[in-house]
């Protein structure tokens, strides 16, 4: 079992863990933007940089992304050294130039002493920091691969394939949920959801008319989990009413000839 030292604390690790895994387990805070437990680490945002050194290394250090660097026995990690803080401040300075209107980036930058960006702020841009979480969640968690990246360098952007409403999208809006800067727009009504310029019909509760998922997502779930087609016909509130009705009937059952109620519990 490898052991590493993080900020002076000796910590036991499992083989194959990253520095970020170990910090997370031990409640050591390392800031991240493009990291999410449900998808593979990407190391795109560079915010989780930490300083590493090793007794076997002849007096030199390195600065690596904690989300990708695998632990090795004897590694010495500093999560808040002056150089690390300077690196994070630079990253946030650049991100603030890219997204000057993002409250999320602003408050993160302020934590590292950056109130205004030292670069030319991008005008008329949205708050996308190109962390890729939307693309990765759609690919790895949902498996729909409905969106991806388009272009390279300064013209790189998150986009639907060919910039058309994506045919493979199921309208689950997981991309919007995981976006750290709340860029992805979801327009929602009781019967419709519009996301990525595509309009989705919502599954409407047969009893009360409330909705929470799209028809496309329902079909995806029914297929993926091999469920009967009417599994999602009732909303959660109406399902609770059905269950309550059953329990009420059971609870008020009487023994033939007895006046007292059964002692019926359910767990």
């Amino acid at each position: 079992m490898p052991e590493i030292i993080v900020d002076g604390r000796r910590l036991r690790c499992d083989e194959g863990e990253t520095i970020l895994d170990v910090c997370g387990r031990n409640k050591i805070k390392v800031p991240t933007l493009c990291y999410h437990e449900a998808v593979e680490s990407w190391g795109g945002c560079r915010l989780c940089m930490v300083e590493i050194s090793h007794p076997k290394w002849p007096g030199w250090k390195d600065w690596v992304t904690a989300c990708l660097y695998p632990v090795r026995d004897g590694l010495v990690v500093g999560t808040g050294t002056p150089r690390v803080r300077r690196l994070r401040a630079t990253v946030l300075d650049l991100l603030l130039a890219r997204c000057p209107n993002s409250d999320v980036i602003r408050s993160l930058a302020a934590e590292y002493g950056i109130e205004e960006t030292s670069y030319q702020p991008r005008e008329d841009g949205d708050n996308c920091i190109l962390c890729g979480l939307c693309v990765r969640v759609c690919a790895e968690v949902i498996g729909a691969n409905a969106i991806g990246t388009a272009g390279r360098g300064t013209s790189k952007e998150i986009s639907e394939p060919l910039k058309e409403p994506p045919a493979d999208c199921i309208g689950c809006a997981a991309c919007a949920y995981v976006c750290p800067t709340n860029v992805i727009m979801v327009l929602q009504s009781r019967t419709q959801r519009i996301i990525w310029d595509r309009s989705f019909d919502m599954v409407v509760c047969k009893q009360c008319g409330k909705s929470h998922i799209t028809v496309a997502q329902r079909d995806w779930l029914v297929k993926r989990n091999d469920l009967p087609a009417d599994y999602y016909d009732l909303c959660d509130e109406c399902k609770r009413k059905v269950v309550a009705n059953t329990q009420k009937n059971l609870a008020s059952m009487k023994y033939p000839g007895e006046d007292d109620l059964f002692d019926i519990d359910y767990i």
Binding site: A176, I213, A244, K248, I267
Partner: protein
């Protein structure tokens, strides 16, 4: 292992369980934040408290595409790992009993009974014993309906 036991015929529809649950989890007194929901039936004058049944083979867990729902075996509790959750709401419709709840504020955020980590406040505050948190005998499964001395396993 202790389990939450619900006796609907002792419930007086006082909503104290819901208020306690809401306050414990959100520091607000709001029925919308409660993980336990009481449903009143005026025709029989009976109220049924509805709460996550901590299923052995949880449908919510099976439906989650990011494997964010897991079981704490020591507590006998099905829990959501919010670091893994992607807010797709697949679990909400998956629960056959409607016990996975959605946050009215943040869209995509779900919540469910977490047994308060081992000391459920609903049971602590229930004035009539409709909700209790007690040790269950060795023959019990996770779900059961007790008919007097006979123990019948359900599910």
């Amino acid at each position: 292992m202790k389990q939450l036991v619900i006796k609907p015929q002792l419930c007086t529809n006082c909503h104290i369980c819901e208020l306690a649950c809401s306050f414990k989890h959100s520091s607000e007194f709001s029925l919308a934040h409660s993980r336990v929901r009481t449903i009143y039936h005026p025709e029989d004058d009976l109220t049924v408290p509805e709460i996550c049944l901590q299923c052995v083979d949880a449908a919510c867990m099976k439906s989650c595409p990011s494997k964010a729902i897991y079981v704490d075996d020591d507590l006998g509790c099905v829990l959501v790992n919010y670091s893994r959750c992607v807010g797709c709401l697949s679990c909400v419709g998956a629960c056959p009993f409607g016990n996975m709840l959605q946050d009215a504020g943040k869209v995509g955020h779900v919540f469910k009974c977490d047994l308060c980590g081992g000391d459920p406040v609903c049971a602590r505050f229930c004035p009539t014993g409709a909700l209790t948190y007690v040790e269950i005998g060795p023959l019990a499964g996770r779900q059961q309906i007790v008919l007097e001395e006979e123990e019948v396993k359900v599910g």
